[in-house]
């Protein structure tokens, strides 16, 4: 005991003066109660989604509602997938997500390299302009962009003459970088010692070889964060596919579910089963890559 006290001398003796009851209160009981209360509030809607998705339609609309399902109708999930064209929507979502993720990873690493590992006059001023665009409200240019993409020829891709009603307006902009992702990777690249680049140059490596063989392998954690963020954002996006896609066969899950439920009489248990299936991949990615999410958000915020 005495040994442990010696490691944290000041705080220990100060809190001890308050007496053990007061310490218990301020140290863990009250914070824990608040934390648990918030945790319940944050879990309840998803608990409701889960149990609604396994209730029978009769039980689902009963007043007052049952908090634990009397009958567990797992069939709701297979019914949802077969009644709603779920696998088609999911395939479209997957294609769009994959395209956007590839675009984000390729473009933002190259751009961040130009903003961090090469000293060119005016670089930091241009970077501040890039950062400032984070604050631009994107919907402001929706109308203009739609019109522009409507005039670009698609040469019959997905059976369309223009980019409208194809995946192109959703995927291609990802290849031109995103200020937030550029910032994330740039901050990471700035921490890599300059000597590594110098050594590569002395060995006769071109700038691109230095980027590809020396810096990029060391930037993997930041690139992973950007890849995950971009993938989740693409999977979650609603407004853009709603605007650009005009045929049900091209809808991703976001628009597909909204459209299908407004056109057909879908029992809400099936809708909740579908929502569960939509949310599931994101939850799995989060559980597998929790560390990357937490780090990514934190880097983005600290000196914002």
């Amino acid at each position: 005991m005495t040994g442990m006290n010696a490691t944290q001398p000041i705080t220990r003796s100060l809190t001890r003066r308050k007496g053990w009851l007061g310490r218990l209160f301020s140290r863990s009981i009250l914070p824990r109660v608040v934390a648990i209360a918030f945790a319940i509030l944050f879990i309840v809607p998803f608990y409701w989604m889960l149990i609604s998705s396994v209730k029978s339609p009769q039980e689902g609309t009963r007043v007052p509602p049952t908090l634990i399902p009397e009958t567990w109708v797992w069939q709701n999930f297979s019914d949802a997938v077969s009644f709603i064209p779920f696998s088609l929507f999911a395939l479209n979502s997957a294609i769009i997500t994959l395209g956007i993720t590839i675009g984000a990873v390729l473009s933002n690493t190259v751009i961040a390299y130009g903003f961090s590992r090469i000293d060119w006059p005016g670089r930091d001023k241009v970077f501040y302009v890039c950062l400032a665009t984070i604050f631009l409200p994107y919907p402001v240019i929706l109308v203009a962009l739609f019109d522009i993409f409507g005039k670009l020829p698609a040469f019959g891709i997905q059976g369309s003459n223009s980019w409208v009603n194809t995946f192109l307006p959703l995927i291609v902009p990802a290849f031109f970088g995103n200020p937030f992702y550029i910032f994330l990777i740039r901050q990471f690249m700035l921490t890599i010692p300059r000597e590594l680049s110098d050594a590569a140059r002395v060995d006769g490596a071109s700038e691109f070889q230095t980027f590809w063989k020396v810096i990029l392998p060391l930037t993997k954690p930041a690139v992973t964060v950007v890849g995950i963020f971009a993938a989740v954002a693409a999977w979650n996006e609603f407004l853009l596919p709603l605007l650009y896609l005009h045929e049900q066969t091209k809808y991703p899950l976001a628009v597909g579910l909204a459209f299908f439920t407004s056109e057909h009489d879908v029992s809400y248990n099936l809708l909740m089963a579908a929502a569960t299936l939509v949310v599931l991949p994101v939850v799995v990615i989060f559980l597998l890559a929790q560390r990357f999410f937490i780090e990514g958000v934190t880097v983005g915020g600290v000196k914002g």
């Binding site: 100060l14 301020s26 140290r27 914070p31 608040v34 934390a35 918030f38 944050f42 809607p45 409701w48 609604s52 689902g60 609309t61 007052p64 509602p65 190259v110 130009g114 903003f115 000293d119 060119w120 006059p121 670089r123 930091d124 665009t133 994107y138 919907p139 402001v140 240019i141 109308v143 203009a144 739609f146 019109d147 522009i148 409507g150 902009p173 031109f176 970088g177 979650n236 609603f238 709603l242 605007l243 579910l257 909204a258 459209f259 407004s262 909740m272 929502a275 939509v278 949310v279 994101v282 939850v283 989060f286 929790q290 937490i294 958000v297 934190t298 983005g300 915020g301 600290v302 914002g304």
Partner: protein, 316 residues
């Protein structure tokens, strides 16, 4: 930051023309950032200018746009639905942003406690913020149902009469605000990083001076967190003015009215309907310009106001 400042070349006495190395670096730097530069000009600057132009035209998206001067703006002033959308959006922003900051701060304080299970809370608070808003909105359509929804049942068990959240025009925006709070976890993580950056010595010396937990929060934590709060405010305002997806889902989407008494008609919802349901691209562009200007004005006001309360360490 120190590595970023190009100090060495500047120190050199003569500021003649660029050296060979500098010229090479400029060429290479621009080459590497060229994807962003192209996107910035073609998918950023040009569409903004084009929006201004379209706002002065009558344009359905099919035939050529016809210049009609400020007629779209005059029409907007006289359009009750535009004012409805403006007041709905501002009402939502005024509620969602301050509540969001308070909730995020509370979550961050909870995550900053020395509790053994704190990683569990962190995961629970953060996870909803990365789940798709459209799916969460579907959940809330069910969750808020006045009959079989869980919330009305929970309120009734404590003797409260639940409002008709999605049917009563004065409760639809509060429903949106509620949905937005599930995203507070992302901001809470940013706050948490700020909290962890506050030196422990400050709290220790405050304790010696006899400060209680409340006093410590308002005299140490809050002032030192102001830069992060400002960041949250600016991002939050920008996103709140753009709110669309939950409003669209809660109304059941499509061609019907935007919620009871158009109470869920937001700015972007209004732009969406005018441009893509009614073919009024010119009018929608004019509303976009107004949204752009309002966003800039509000951000400007907040930045100026923040000068009075944001604490920067370097000033010390």
């Amino acid at each position: 930051m120190s590595e970023a400042s190009p100090a060495i070349p500047r120190v050199r006495p003569a500021r003649r023309r660029m050296g060979a190395i500098e010229r090479r670096n400029l060429r290479l730097g621009l080459l590497f950032i060229s994807p962003w530069l192209f996107g910035f000009l073609v998918l950023g600057i040009f569409p903004i200018l084009y929006t201004f132009y379209l706002s002065l035209t009558r344009y359905s998206g099919l035939r050529e746009p016809i210049l009609i001067g400020a007629a779209n703006y005059q029409r907007m002033v006289a359009d009750p639905l535009f004012w409805k959308a403006a007041s709905n959006t501002l009402f939502y922003t005024a509620l969602a942003v301050p509540i969001g900051v308070v909730v995020a701060m509370a979550l961050a304080l909870a995550m900053n406690q020395k509790l053994r299970e704190v990683a569990v809370y962190r995961a629970i608070f953060y996870l909803p913020s990365i789940l798709p808003v459209f799916a969460i909105s579907f959940i809330f359509v069910v969750f808020l149902n006045p009959g079989y929804g869980l919330l009305s049942y929970a309120l009734s068990t404590v003797g409260l009469q639940s409002p008709n959240w999605l049917g009563d025009p004065s409760y639809t925006i509060p429903s949106l605000v509620m949905i937005a709070q599930l995203g507070a976890g992302a901001y809470a993580l940013i706050f948490l990083a700020g909290l962890k950056g506050i030196p422990v010595e400050l709290y220790e010396s405050a304790s010696i001076d006899g400060a209680g937990p409340l006093r410590k929060f308002f005299s140490i934590t809050l002032p030192l967190m102001t830069p992060v709060i400002l960041y949250d405010l600016i991002i939050g305002l920008s996103l709140a003015l753009q709110v669309f997806t939950p409003a669209y889902i809660l109304t059941g989407g499509g061609e019907r009215a935007a919620g009871p008494d158009n109470s869920l008609l937001t700015f972007v919802f209004f732009i969406y309907r005018q441009a893509f349901q009614f073919g009024q691209m010119g009018y929608a562009a004019a509303v976009s310009v107004v949204l752009f200007v309002i966003s800039l004005i509000i951000a400007g006001i907040v930045f100026r106001w923040a000068r009075g309360w944001v604490y920067y360490e370097s000033v010390r």
